[in-house]
């Protein structure tokens, strides 16, 4: 056990501040973002049955889902002692806040400089992109922790116990999210960089990489075999409908990276890459350069969802920025001005705060469903048959399942769904159609019983009511800002 020193206290304070900030923002809103309701449902199911909901009777009116369930088990575990509404806000916040500690240990290992490591930890706690995950019950709160811990144990593989720890962490990461592959690919780029730089490649690193690669390949192929068969290479894009694809996998632009990562970590990170490549050599920094390169290329080629890619890119740039900070601080300490390192440190933090303040504020905007919509879905739960199928926008699919406890027509989990483009277009048509006969055909196709026109859908489709909802086939059963129509089961002969 190392003794507690000043920087540990600072780190603990930083961790508490970041956790507090996240929790304040999380509890400021009562609900969760739209996608989070899937996590809540999975957690509830695990708590009740001990098993994840792989055969979901409500999603898409009944379907199979495949996913690594560890995160939901973790939530379910805490849910045994804490109510779900609290667990789902506290645990992800804890995960993201603990990234600060991991970043600190990684950067300290790379730079051997406490101040640089503390500044990097500070950056990682307040980088704007991390705050897009508030109230999302994001699986990345655990995945990022495991992935970066794995990278850390990989760096220390020579030391006793770290190989076993790497394997354990990989297994946990595999049971959490597929994004661990990004790190595995980075290992190969890392070896390539070492080879090109005529560095000696550590044989233990190769051994562990080979093992991790085989293990990850094997695990994912077994888990997602059905999805591979069904979607082929489109599996990478998660079978997302074509019209939505551009919002998940966006074009990368320099300005957007600055906005998400902040100008200071970006500039310092890029300088570190230059320095490691052309001036000094640093094995550990090379790993994070590889990781940043892989994240950037995957973002560029749209092989990774935009937000996930930016999360990886930003954390790697923050780690690398510590390397540049160390150079700055070391050079500053060589001057005659004694206070210069402190001035530089304050200046860097100040510039970081000033440049990330606007994106930070803009990021922290409510993404939760309006209370009127929640109220309407509560009405659905109390006043409709249990096997009723509710049509809502795709975004509201999880909400319909979790709050109304009713079947939906579609939700944002598109994997293993046939003809997803057709279904997605049909749903959009059902909100915008004017022709009753076509609407009735589509409603019968998906066996819809009720149509949920939320305030959110009204804004999205720019309408106040359904055009085709005439009294002979539709009954307005709920009208309180959000509207609910009952489909009376007409047929087109």
């Amino acid at each position: 056990m190392g003794r507690i020193v000043k920087e540990h206290i600072i780190l603990a304070i930083l961790f508490i501040i970041i956790l507090a900030v996240r929790l304040i923002f999380a509890f400021h809103e009562t609900g969760f973002s739209y996608d989070a309701y899937n996590a809540l449902r999975q957690t509830e199911h695990i708590k009740q049955t001990g098993l994840p909901l792989f055969k979901d009777p409500l999603s898409y009116s009944g379907r199979t889902i495949i996913f690594p369930p560890l995160f939901y088990y973790l939530l379910a575990l805490f849910n045994l002692f804490i109510p779900l509404a609290f667990t789902a806000k506290i645990i992800p916040s804890l995960g993201f806040a603990s990234l600060v500690l991991i970043i600190y240990f990684i950067t300290k290992h790379i730079t051997k400089n406490k101040v640089a490591a503390l500044i990097a930890a500070f950056f990682s706690g307040f980088v704007p992109i991390i705050y897009t995950t508030i109230n999302q019950v994001s699986v990345y709160s655990l995945a990022l922790v495991l992935i970066f811990l794995l990278s850390y144990t990989f760096l220390r593989i020579e030391e006793k116990g770290f190989a076993v720890l790497s394997i354990i962490l990989l297994i946990l990461a595999l049971f959490t999210h597929t994004s661990v592959f990004t790190l595995l690919i980075s290992f190969f780029i890392y070896f390539l960089i070492l080879r090109l730089g005529k560095h000696r490649i550590n044989i233990k690193e190769i051994e562990i990489t080979l093992f991790l690669l085989f293990l990850a390949l094997w695990f994912n192929i077994l888990l997602y075999k059905k999805a591979f068969f069904m979607h082929g290479i489109r599996f990478i894009w998660q079978n997302i409908p074509a019209p939505l694809l551009s919002s998940y996998f966006q074009d990368i632009s320099f300005l957007r990276v600055i906005y998400a990562v902040g100008i200071v970590p970006l500039l310092l990170g890029v300088y570190a890459i230059y320095h490691v490549f052309f001036k000094t050599r640093n094995r550990a920094a090379s790993l994070y350069i590889s990781f940043a390169i892989v994240a950037f290329i995957m973002l560029w080629l749209k092989l990774i969802p935009f937000k996930t890619g930016l999360l990886f890119l930003s954390i790697n740039l923050i780690i690398l920025s510590a390397y540049s900070l160390k150079i700055i601080l070391v050079n500053a300490s060589k001057t005659k001005i004694r206070a210069l390192p402190n001035i530089m440190t304050s200046l860097v933090i100040l510039i970081f705060i000033l440049t990330t303040l606007t994106p930070f504020i803009k990021t922290i905007k409510p993404r939760t469903p309006p209370p009127q919509d929640i109220e309407a879905l509560n009405w659905v739960r109390n006043n409709t048959p249990q096997d009723a199928v509710i049509l809502g926008s795709v975004k509201e699919g999880f909400l319909i399942n979790h709050i109304a406890k009713r079947k939906n027509v579609a939700d944002p989990n598109f994997l293993l769904i046939n003809n997803i483009n057709q279904r997605y277009n049909d749903i959009n048509h059902l909100f915008t159609l004017r022709l009753k006969s076509e609407a009735i055909r589509l409603l019968n196709k998906y066996a819809v019983d009720y149509i949920f026109l939320s305030t959110n859908s009204m804004k999205e489709y720019n309408l106040t009511k359904l055009f085709y909802a005439e009294e002979d086939c539709f009954e307005l059963v709920y009208d309180n800002e959000a509207l609910i129509y009952k489909f009376l089961g007409c047929r087109i002969e």
Binding site: E207, F214, F229, Q422
Partner: protein
């Protein structure tokens, strides 16, 4: 056969026997499983065309026209081999044993070839073991495929040309090579060119520069024969087997029948890196193999040939992983276990793919029913074409050989229009243009073409009096189109 064992000791002999037994076991498993499920022996595809043509050749050895399709018949030595065998043995016996025999002979020739290029006996035997779990090998030798025959001739050419003894009988070698080259060129022009290039490379690798005449003379004579045949007969030389790059065609994981297994590709890449670093003087040849692997992404013949060659690299990788002194013994065990699991996965995945492939007994039953209907051309997807010709003895609008026809793109366009139209006035001209009498619909077509919804041609047939349903069982439907019927426009859909 004696030569086969000459280089190795008793262990090699045992190993070889084990490898061949495994190979036979794997190949026969596919047939046994299909048989146990009462499915026709071969998965849908070329095997049915080859068998039908061979049956025809049995009665008419100088065939110029395909008797069912009425198209020009392109001479293929494999069909003649099959026809000759059919004269001696019954068709079911040939169907079961010929692929197995060709598979075993190819494996033995491959072993001999490896020994000739100085691969250690143990490594050559191990290559056969890996070959037994290679998807393309399993697929090719569980059906009557031209590619299987082509690979056998290619290997025979390589073994004869590289045999140490041939300098004593250069004329005999030249004649036999010319004969084999001609057979190969007529079987598959792409395989002919690939074999020649491979032979040239291996010849140089063995340092036999002076004897290259033995290769060049047969090659030039064969080329001349091909040119003369194309000038003076209806033979059209086509570089066969090319397709656009698509992961679905390459990876067996994505249901490619003649694809690579993902784990074998990973092992190949590891093996490639190892030999690349180890064997400085052989780098050009390894580069050639890499070239073949890249070509294999676009060409099926190259893929089958590459599937043989990469086994050597896979063995290098496995041997390396097995023999090297690992720093972490636990990881060694884990990695080797994962490699073993991946090989088992490769073979089970391919066997499942082949066993589940169409036709099943329901399809065969429908096709036999079709046979007993009046004469007439059948319209279905091109993947079903050979099956209809074989079982129902009726011509089809499209089959997998239709690409040879001049109006292929027009055929494809018309077929697509016909499948998608729900209007008789649009369908009728196409039906009449090609004199189509029957339409065969399978459950797969319903799902892929019409998303299991009554639309397009399926809808039209169900609602038009111009079509009569002749057969419907287990989702397979046969409809008859009534030609020259006075259809009133009021009835038109």
């Amino acid at each position: 056969m004696k030569n086969l064992f000459k280089d190795g000791g008793k262990n090699t002999k045992k190993g070889l026997v084990f490898a061949i037994t495994l190979l036979l076991l794997v190949l026969s498993t596919v047939m046994i499983l299909r048989f146990s499920q009462a499915k026709p022996l071969f998965p849908a595809g070329e095997a049915y065309y080859n068998l039908r043509i061979a049956e025809t050749l049995k009665h008419n050895f100088f065939l110029t026209t395909d008797p069912v399709q009425g198209t020009l018949y392109e001479l293929n030595p494999y069909h003649y081999l099959l026809a000759t065998l059919l004269l001696l043995l019954p068709s079911p016996l040939i169907s079961v044993f010929l692929p197995l025999v060709l598979g075993v002979i190819s494996a033995l020739l491959f072993f001999r070839l490896l020994r000739l290029i100085r691969v250690k006996p143990s490594q050559a035997t191990a290559s056969l073991l890996v070959l037994a779990v290679t998807p393309a090998f399993i697929a090719v030798f569980t059906g009557l495929y031209v590619a299987g025959f082509a690979i056998l001739i290619s290997l025979l050419i390589l073994v004869i040309a590289l045999h140490k003894k041939h300098p004593s009988f250069p004329l005999l070698t030249c004649i036999s090579l010319t004969l084999l080259f001609t057979i190969l060129a007529l079987t598959s022009l792409t395989s002919f060119l690939l074999t020649f290039l491979l032979l040239l490379a291996l010849h140089t690798l063995r340092g036999c520069k002076r004897k290259s005449l033995v290769i060049w003379v047969p090659f030039l004579i064969t080329s001349l024969v091909i040119v003369l045949l194309s000038f003076f007969t209806h033979y059209t030389p086509i570089l066969d087997g090319f397709n656009h790059f698509a992961f679905q065609n390459i990876l067996s994981l994505l249901q490619a029948r003649f694809g690579f297994d993902i784990f074998l590709v990973v092992l190949f890449l590891i093996g490639f890196i190892i030999v690349w670093l180890r064997e400085e003087e052989k780098k050009p040849y390894h580069l050639g193999v890499l070239g073949l692997f890249i070509l294999a992404l676009f060409n099926i013949n190259a893929r089958i040939l590459a599937s043989f060659i990469i086994t050597v690299y896979c063995v290098v990788a496995i041997t390396y992983l097995y023999n090297r002194k690992w720093h972490l013994t636990m990881i060694r065990t884990g990695t080797l276990l994962l490699v073993l699991c991946s090989l088992v996965f490769s073979v089970t995945n391919q066997i499942t793919l082949l066993v589940n492939a169409q036709p099943d007994k329901e399809m065969a039953k429908a096709l036999i029913f079709l046979k007993h209907l009046d004469k007439g051309k059948v319209f279905t997807i091109k993947e079903n074409g050979f099956l209809v010709e074989f079982y129902a003895d009726k011509s089809v609008l499209l089959d997998t050989n239709s690409f040879r026809r001049r109006n292929y793109s027009e055929l494809l366009r018309d077929a697509a229009s016909l499948f998608m139209t729900a209007r008789l006035r649009e369908a009728e001209p196409i039906l009449k243009k090609y004199d189509l009498h029957y339409i065969l619909i399978t459950p797969e077509m319903k799902e892929e073409l019409w998303e299991n919804r009554e639309q397009g041609l399926w809808f039209l047939m169900k609602h038009s009096e111009s079509f009569i349903k002749k057969y419907e069982e287990a989702g397979v439907e046969i409809w008859q189109y009534i030609h020259n019927r006075n259809t009133s426009l009021s009835k038109e859909v």
